[in-house]
Symmetry: C2
Subunit: 158 residues, 2 copies
């Protein structure tokens, strides 16, 4: 699957989102390349595995080329073992807000304490219903890229 991904990213200011979640899944992911113009990610999500390639973001950070393909779970685990350390572990919660789906990531381990919500949009100026637990927007702030959280985890931020 190949597409241009348009999304906005926010901090989460309370754990009220957990009560509204329609799904909760454990995710482990690592990077074969963290280059911002040709990022290559291996993700194990529940019992499924994926390889994902992302291109450079546009200047506002909302839009990015993305290609993703499901792969065999055992092959995914082998590929994850090749990835740069550390591996990112997180829980992902899916929450409906009007016609939109928010994905909230609760990070674990070295990124414990960090909770980020993302909403995918069909065009850049699309409006959506803002949930009560949604905080400051961090779209385009590269510190919050998952690939950067393996370089400088949240627990090390000053």
């Amino acid at each position: 699957m190949q597409m241009i991904e348009i999304e906005r990213k926010f901090l989460v200011i309370s754990d009220a989102y957990k009560k509204e979640a329609i799904t909760t899944t454990k995710i482990a992911q690592g990077y074969l390349s963290k280059h911002p113009e040709r990022n290559v990610r291996i993700r194990i999500r529940g019992e499924k595995a994926y390889i994902t390639v992302k291109g450079a973001s546009n200047t506002t950070g909302t839009s990015r080329f993305e290609w993703e393909k499901e792969i065999d779970i055992e092959e995914g685990k082998s590929l994850l073992s090749l990835c740069e350390r550390p591996i990112i572990d997180k829980y992902r919660y899916e929450i409906k807000s009007g016609n939109h789906l928010f994905e909230v990531d609760e990070f674990l381990d070295e990124n414990q304490g960090l909770v980020i919500a993302e909403v995918e949009l069909t065009h850049e100026d699309e409006t959506f219903i803002k949930p009560d637990w949604l905080g400051e927007e961090v779209t385009g702030d590269t510190r919050y890229y998952n690939s950067q959280l393996t370089n400088v985890p949240f627990s090390k931020w000053v």
Copy 2:
């Protein structure tokens, strides 16, 4: 497909291999990551496209983790456009030698003049019939890695 690849690599000293070739295919390939421990390649081979991940080599350079998956040709072309420049273009010839298949790569553009033969083996000390056109062994010489030929092409060697 996931496997440990065992192969030996040689220079080619005449173009006699062309007469023995059972197939000839144009290949274009680029790299999303050239890291030797987590190399990610996009290859267009004829009308098919592949994504390939290779791990680190063993100390002799003969054996390497390799994972490959065929992908949609149009998606492959999009991914190739994300790769680091330059893209490697070459012709690949397949030549039988006894029970073994040699793959001979005739490089184009900046690597014009370089011709490399590879034979895949099932174990490291397996013997094979040496064709007349086979020259010096270069197994494990990283200068001949395709990923390195995009950094320092053959035409720039001194």
